[in-house]
Every structure is written in structure tokens, then in C-alpha cells.
């Protein structure tokens, strides 16, 4: 017993933050999570890049010119980070939002009136606007540095699709508050689909698609109907946009992002003069 208390005293006497830190870093739990430890040597700095699933998106070494802020404007990274912010805040918002005519508007209203940290909606909306601008600027930078040129042609294409997806994500999310701003913006936007050649009932050529006298393309069988799930922006459109906004489009975007990042590495990293 005396032995034990002595040892306890000894331990406490030698206790210092540095010691505790060391002890934690040598514990099995810590080492099982962070294999490499504090990257204080070049060897470890390399290993850490290889060992972490998040960091291994990057190569171990990068060209000095390639990571200059004045060269990349950091816009790709900002876009990706905003995507993460939007995923996180969007997930929180999904807890409070029901995509029905009855509740959609009042649920958004309640985010302002009553829900704790309802400011998530603001972060989500402004983050979405910022992401659209960031993705444009990213494209702008990539064009201005000619970074789409071989061998990066395909990745540019993936990027263009991601840009379109960003706009579609923002567009589908625009409807969800179900206020006048939302439904009329979507009405104006989706009215264009009415004029799709052949596939829209007010598009050129649609009148030619007939079985005898029966028109095949009408306002309840055209492209706009498929988009909205109805002849006007109603509950069908709300549900459709909700599912696309929360599940469909993010999944596709995530999938393409994986390709996009992978191809940056495969195509020689961040571009630079040869």
C-alpha cells in the first residue's frame, strides 16, 4: 500500500503538460489513430501525407509555383470547402424541414423564429451563393492559365459538369423555402423547358409529333412536366426538387469530385509551366 501511494506521489511530482502529452502520444489508442505522430521531421511530413485519407488527396511534394495563392486564387479549394459547409448545414436543416405545401414555408419561418441556431439557413444560403461565384472564378483561373490544355482536357470537362451541377444544386435549393421568391424564380426558370425543341409543348417541332390528330407532346407530357412533376410548380415539384437537392445531385457531384481530384494528381498535379 505504501509502495503504491509512493508511486502515485512520484507520478504526480513529475507531472507536466509536456509529459502528459508525451504519454498520450505514446498510448496505444493515440498511435492506432495517428500512426505518424507530430510531423516534425521531413520523413514524418511525407508519411503524414500518405497515411491520412484526407491528406492523401494531395501529393507529398508540390511545385512551389503551383500552390502560390496568386496563381491558384485558392478558388478550387474554396469551392470544395463550401461544398462541405453546405453539406453540413444542409444536413442540419433537413432535421427541421418537411417538403410539403403545408409545412415547407412555416418550417423555414420557424428556423427564424424558434429553432436554436436557425442561422444555419443563412449560412447555407450565403454559402450557396458564394459557391456559385467561387466555381465561376475557379473556371476563370483555370482558363486564364491555360490549365485545360493537354493532359488536363478531360478534367476540364469534369469541371464543366461540376459547374453545371453547382448551378443545378443552387437552382433546386432555391425552391425549397416555398415563398413567392422561390416559386416564381423556379417558374421562370422552368418555363424555358416548355420551349425545348420537340420535347416541350411550346418548342419548335413539338407540333409535328402527332399520332393522327392526337398531339404526343402536350403540357402534361413535355420536358417541363418531367422537370416539375406537374403542369405548374406545385407539391410534385417541391418533392422532386427536394430529393434532387438533398440526395441526387450531391451524390453525382461527390462522385465527380472524386474523379476531379484524382485526375488532378494523375494529370501531373497543379499545372505549371513546363
Amino acid at each position: 500500500m505504501a509502495n503504491f501511494s509512493d508511486r502515485l506521489k512520484e507520478t504526480f511530482k513529475n507531472l507536466s503538460p509536456a509529459k502528459v502529452g508525451e504519454w498520450i502520444q505514446e498510448s496505444q489508442i493515440y498511435r492506432s489513430i495517428f500512426r505518424i505522430g507530430v510531423p516534425d521531421s521531413d520523413r514524418k511530413r511525407m508519411l503524414v501525407m500518405l497515411g491520412s485519407v484526407f491528406l492523401h488527396l494531395h501529393p507529398v511534394k508540390v511545385r512551389k509555383s503551383g500552390i502560390r495563392m496568386r496563381y491558384t486564387w485558392c478558388m478550387g479549394g474554396i469551392t470544395f470547402f463550401l461544398f462541405l459547409v453546405l453539406t453540413f448545414t444542409g444536413l442540419l436543416l433537413m432535421f427541421y424541414y418537411r417538403p410539403t405545401l403545408e409545412y415547407a414555408y412555416v418550417d423555414i419561418r420557424d428556423l427564424r423564429e424558434q429553432v436554436p441556431l436557425g442561422i444555419m439557413r443563412e449560412i447555407h444560403r450565403w454559402g450557396a451563393h458564394a459557391m456559385v461565384i467561387a466555381v465561376w472564378l475557379h473556371m476563370y483561373r483555370v482558363f486564364m492559365t491555360g490549365s485545360y490544355k493537354p493532359p488536363r482536357e478531360f478534367n476540364w470537362n469534369v469541371g464543366v459538369i461540376l459547374l453545371v451541377l453547382t448551378l443545378l444544386l443552387s437552382f433546386t435549393g432555391y425552391l425549397l423555402p416555398w415563398d413567392q421568391l422561390a416559386i416564381w424564380a423556379i417558374t421562370v426558370g422552368s418555363n424555358m423547358a416548355r420551349a425545348t425543341p420537340f420535347a416541350g409543348h411550346e418548342g419548335p417541332g413539338a407540333a409535328l409529333l402527332k399520332l393522327g390528330d392526337i398531339p404526343l407532346v402536350s403540357n402534361s407530357s413535355d420536358a417541363r412536366f418531367a422537370l416539375l412533376g406537374g403542369r405548374f410548380v406545385g407539391e410534385g415539384a417541391l418533392l422532386r426538387f427536394y430529393v434532387l437537392h438533398c440526395v441526387g445531385l450531391p451524390l453525382v457531384a461527390g462522385f465527380l469530385m472524386a474523379i476531379h481530384f484524382w485526375r488532378i494528381r494523375r494529370d501531373g498535379g497543379i499545372s505549371g509551366p513546363l
Partner: protein
């Protein structure tokens, strides 16, 4: 008062778009004079001054401070800033090349640095700063929430989300099937085609203007004038009934603009030939078809022999025709704009019976 009226007048679409286009091309012609630190100082302090003074005007303030318009105000500064920044880098690089010195980027290309900490750490800082900005922005500006949706009461103006306002602005000049479906599709296709059309091996991985003047000019015209400027125009300067309103003008629902637009067929059959319009739409629109087909089919070979001869030689026929088609499609918009402004031309081909209007 006089200044306000003057600004209201010069922001009219025809003037704004023309002036911006000319400014862009002139600046690209003499980049060394335009993209300098001093010009940036003048332009941006001018912009801040303009914004700062204009907010005093209630009509201006009402539009600019609409919560959803605030990001576009931000964009109004960001896009010119990055344009200036990219072209200033390009000018510097071009100068270095002329002097036989290595590029700015080249000086450091050979050096490789460890990703940890140089990249990872800056990324982390960037994320934290961005989060701070987002929180601050969200605390100062409440997200908009208007009246509950009412499908039977349409607001005037009804606007698409701001990033699609460029398309909505195109609706002034083209029918929905072109402005809303074909052109957006061509924009996407065109963007994706860029790396396959552009075979210029130079300018890969660094800022330069001299080595890719043609590509950059075309892209900047499409991106800055035909997209960003139209978005800004659609957001700030289009009011009820999609009428033009100057920045200091009150958005009066009753404002009327004279709609005196005339189809090409009427110009030719009625005004020039002094006949009535033929009944058969194909005959009626004969000249329109000729014009459009000439534009799309005869122009490429013509260009291949004259103006764009060097491209035809380097690109080969397939790439060349793809490029000219996309280019002609893009130029269709400014051409139609000019025709509208000068001749009040409504449709080149107008067959409303089949929704086929160009």
C-alpha cells in the same frame, strides 16, 4: 441630379454592352496600359466611390441591398479584380518573355516543397477565414423569406435565380427555345470543347496574353460581356415587365417601352417590295432562312479562306468547323442585339405557328 440622369442614361443596355465590349477589346489591344497597378487603383476606388455615393439614393439602395443581390454586388468587385489580376500577371509574364527572362511561375517550378505544412496549413487557415466570413455575413444579413408561395399571384418582375439572369436577359433578344434551351446547351458543349479545339501548345500553366490572344479575347468576351454583364444587367437594371431601369430610377410598374419591333419578312415583303405578306410561312420567311443558313453554312468556308485562314491551316477541317460553329452561335447574340438596337428587328425567321422564331 444631372449626374444621376447621365448615369441612368449610359447604363441603358445598348450603351452598356457596347461600351463594355469596346473597352474590353481596346484594353486587350493595349494591355500594358490598362492592366497596371495604377489603373486598378483608379478603377476600384472609382467603383467604391460610385457605390458609396450611390447608396444615398433610395432607389439604388433598395435594389442593391436586397439580400439576394448582395452576393452579386460582391461579384461586381471580384470579377473585375480577378480579371485585372490575371491580365496584369499575363502582361508581366509577356514582358519577361520579351526580355528573355523566365516566367514568374517558371522561377519556382523546379522547386518542390513539402505539402505539409506549406499547402495543408494555408488550406486550413483559408477554411477558418472563410467560416468566419460566412458566419459574419449570416449574422448581418438575414436570408430572404417573402410571402408564402401563391401560384395565382405572380410578382412583377418575376426573376429567375440570379445566376440564370443572363439567360433571362437573352430572352429579350431570342425566343425561349434558343435562349433557354439551345444556347445554354451550346455554352456547356462549347466549354467542354475548348481543350479539343485549342491546339495552341503555348500558355499551358502560366498567365500569358500575347501567346494566346485570340483564345483569351474570345473567352473574355463570352464570359465577361455575354454572361457576367448580362447577369448584372438582369439583376440591377431590369425592373417590372423586364423593362430597363437606370440605377437611380424608381421601379415603376406602369413604365412603358415602345414595342415597335418588326420581323425581317415584314421589312422585305412590306417595306422593300411593297407587297403583302405571303400566306405560306416558308415563302414568307424565305429571306430569313437564306440569312440564317448563309450565316451558319456559308460563313465557315468563307472564314476559312479569309479571316481565320491560319486556324484552318493549323486546326484541320473538323476542329475548325466545330470552332466556327460555336463561335458563330456565340456571336449570334451580339449580332441580334445590334440588329434589335439599330433596326428594331424582332425575328429573322418568325414562324410563331410552330414556335420557330429566330
Amino acid at each position: 441630379m444631372f449626374i444621376k440622369e447621365f448615369i441612368n442614361a449610359i447604363t441603358a443596355p445598348y450603351f452598356l454592352i457596347t461600351a463594355a465590349g469596346i473597352l474590353l477589346f481596346v484594353s486587350l489591344k493595349y494591355p500594358g496600359k490598362f492592366y497596371t497597378n495604377r489603373s486598378a487603383l483608379i478603377v476600384f476606388s472609382g467603383m467604391f466611390l460610385f457605390l458609396g455615393l450611390s447608396v444615398i439614393d433610395p432607389n439604388f439602395r433598395k435594389i442593391v441591398t436586397k439580400p439576394d443581390n448582395v452576393p452579386i454586388v460582391g461579384m461586381l468587385f471580384l470579377i473585375p479584380f480577378f480579371t485585372w489580376f490575371a491580365l496584369r500577371e499575363a502582361v508581366r509574364n509577356d514582358q519577361r518573355t520579351a526580355e528573355g527572362k523566365p516566367l514568374i511561375e517558371q522561377e519556382e517550378t523546379a522547386d518542390k516543397v513539402l505539402t505539409w505544412p506549406d499547402l495543408v496549413y494555408t488550406e486550413l487557415i483559408c477554411m477558418v477565414v472563410l467560416t468566419v466570413i460566412l458566419i459574419g455575413w449570416s449574422m448581418t444579413l438575414e436570408a430572404p423569406l417573402e410571402e408564402p408561395a401563391n401560384p395565382s399571384a405572380s410578382p412583377n418582375p418575376s426573376k429567375a435565380p440570379w445566376y440564370f439572369l443572363g439567360l433571362q436577359e437573352m430572352l429579350v433578344y431570342f425566343d425561349p427555345w434558343l435562349a433557354g434551351v439551345v444556347f445554354p446547351g451550346l455554352i456547356i458543349v462549347g466549354l467542354m470543347a475548348i481543350p479539343y479545339i485549342d491546339t495552341n501548345p503555348k500558355g499551358n500553366g502560366y498567365f500569358t496574353l500575347k501567346e494566346r490572344k485570340w483564345e483569351i479575347s474570345t473567352f473574355l468576351f463570352g464570359f465577361l460581356i455575354l454572361w457576367i454583364l448580362l447577369v448584372i444587367l438582369g439583376t440591377f437594371l431590369r425592373g417590372p415587365n423586364w423593362n430597363f431601369f437606370g440605377p437611380y430610377e424608381f421601379w415603376d410598374i406602369h413604365k412603358l417601352e415602345a414595342l415597335v419591333n418588326v420581323n425581317l419578312s415584314e421589312y422585305i415583303w412590306v417595306k422593300a417590295l411593297g407587297m403583302g405578306l405571303p400566306k405560306n410561312p416558308l415563302i414568307r420567311e424565305f429571306f430569313g432562312f437564306v440569312a440564317v443558313l448563309t450565316y451558319l453554312l456559308a460563313m465557315p468556308p468563307l472564314l476559312a479562306r479569309t479571316l481565320l485562314k491560319r486556324f484552318y491551316n493549323t486546326l484541320g477541317p473538323v476542329r475548325f468547323h466545330l470552332m466556327t460553329f460555336l463561335l458563330l452561335a456565340m456571336m449570334a447574340l451580339p449580332i441580334k442585339m445590334v440588329l434589335r438596337w439599330l433596326f428594331n428587328l424582332k425575328y429573322i425567321i418568325g414562324i410563331p405557328e410552330y414556335f420557330f422564331n429566330i
